[in-house]
Symmetry: C2
Subunit: 333 residues, 2 copies
Amino acid sequence: MPELRRDPITGRWVIISTEREKRPTSFKLTVERKGGFCPFCEGNEQHTPSEIMAYRSNGSERDTAGWTLRVVPNKYPALHIEGELNREGEGMFDKMNGIGAHEVVVESPDHEMTMAKMEPTHIENVFWAFRDRMLDLKRDKRFRYILIFKNQGEAAGATLDHSHSQIIALPIIPKLASEEITGAKAYFNYKERCVYCDIIAQEKAESTRIVEENPDFIAISPFAARFPFETWILPKQHSAFFENAQKKEYESLSKLLRIVLTKMDRALATPPYNMIIHSSPFYENTQDFYHWHIELMPKLTKVAGFESGTGFYINPTSPEEAAQFLREASLSG
Amino acid sequence: MPELRRDPITGRWVIISTEREKRPTSFKLTVERKGGFCPFCEGNEQHTPSEIMAYRSNGSERDTAGWTLRVVPNKYPALHIEGELNREGEGMFDKMNGIGAHEVVVESPDHEMTMAKMEPTHIENVFWAFRDRMLDLKRDKRFRYILIFKNQGEAAGATLDHSHSQIIALPIIPKLASEEITGAKAYFNYKERCVYCDIIAQEKAESTRIVEENPDFIAISPFAARFPFETWILPKQHSAFFENAQKKEYESLSKLLRIVLTKMDRALATPPYNMIIHSSPFYENTQDFYHWHIELMPKLTKVAGFESGTGFYINPTSPEEAAQFLREASLSG
């Protein structure tokens, strides 16, 4: 059983995942590429754990071909779904058994497809799948947070080329999510306004950091971006929960995301990237002050490693230049 | 002039370093390798900015050969030393002009030397240089924190092979340092004991996570390690400030560090790594509850990128296994 352990100084929780491959010289987080074989391709359904859900339009059977999107358990999960949540001490240290869900969203049956190349309606399907899984996982009262993210490209941590995202349901709240909650709450207590709504208002007034916008969403280079070309996508309508968006918002978001990803591909030569959905934890009464959003981080610099050891970032590209460069990038090849 | 910008939600400060190379397709943090030429090698002193200090035993002139260790300004500094510290708002956003120092410690005149191969007395010199620079930079009242770190190997962010460390003096406190201060203070308020001293006591009692120890220092795999083989080195004598250590402590530390680095090289095939000195900020009255230490992070996994986007870590190697593996590693080649 993996363990969740809490750093006694900072309160940061870590999954100590002892059952994965652990030979000191071979650290892999998920499956290995094997000579061109891809378990996520259509026709290879038997090579993944049995599917949790799939979108199928032709009435095809579970775990067979004929799907447009498929959600399966991660074959090498970081956390296990079975068991009681058990908090305990070990002297001064705190731990929990590693209860959680770890799922993979196979976004398309086509091995060559990327999110930037998908039709917006197909991207929308991916968001519907995220929402469907969130709503289902939320019913499990052991979980307090659901992390949804996508690692695109090997340098961003993907171990399989085939376009996919991951969903991790956690019995704890990740550090950065707590920090956002704490910061947004402090701002709300002082101003009685949502800090993200205020950011959107100022970005619209200044316009120098806007990458793209449509009636429902805005994509910006954040004022204090940690990474070159870091981009946030925020709904203009205040809401703490990704899963509570309107149908037309998912449509709008899919269109906007496709434009932003296409521009990144064109302007930055198809960079590896991480995409993370920041949505509210479940039981924190965040509706007034938290504002869900997406953070997109192309991997352009060699992360100096000292950044995760210090929490301090040096960004060699100003957000204003990054936004301008992406704004002006062509959408046609 | 670079800018320091504050994320309005989390309070995280970022250096936006606009003067560095900023062409969207070429992001380099420091100088480029040029066909084998190394500006840090003995005899090439004219190819670095003029030295701030050097250890020379033979009475040789400034910026000439004959040194054993040399500290120079970073040729591509992230921050500038000249100017007034100027905090200002930009609507709801907060920024400061990018005042700070950014120095490079060239640890040895020998291009092939690594810290693991240095004589302990030479490593001691490196620590003395850190201390000398800290004490000097501390006199500048604009600075609140001094970050001392080493990126060893390209994958850890080093852009020059020649063994070196970096010193960055900052007018702000990096996020992780504040978190350590806040956490250690909360623990002290509750227990009236230093959390790090308690960790040392428990690790000594359990012994499963000890990598190495001597009378003055202990090297452990921390209970909630973020990375495989992450190792902390702590002084057994409580002290908040690296720069206040006794002479015999620097001697002991150098001996211990050399053993730990040698074991890492043997056990993990000379891994790239980041080493960060965690010492107290200057004006925070931390002496009772903060405890300086060193964090060593070998770079074995491809960092999935989502980790810096979530503050959440998955460590595939348990600290107990890591400590055992290092403990049992041979010191002789």
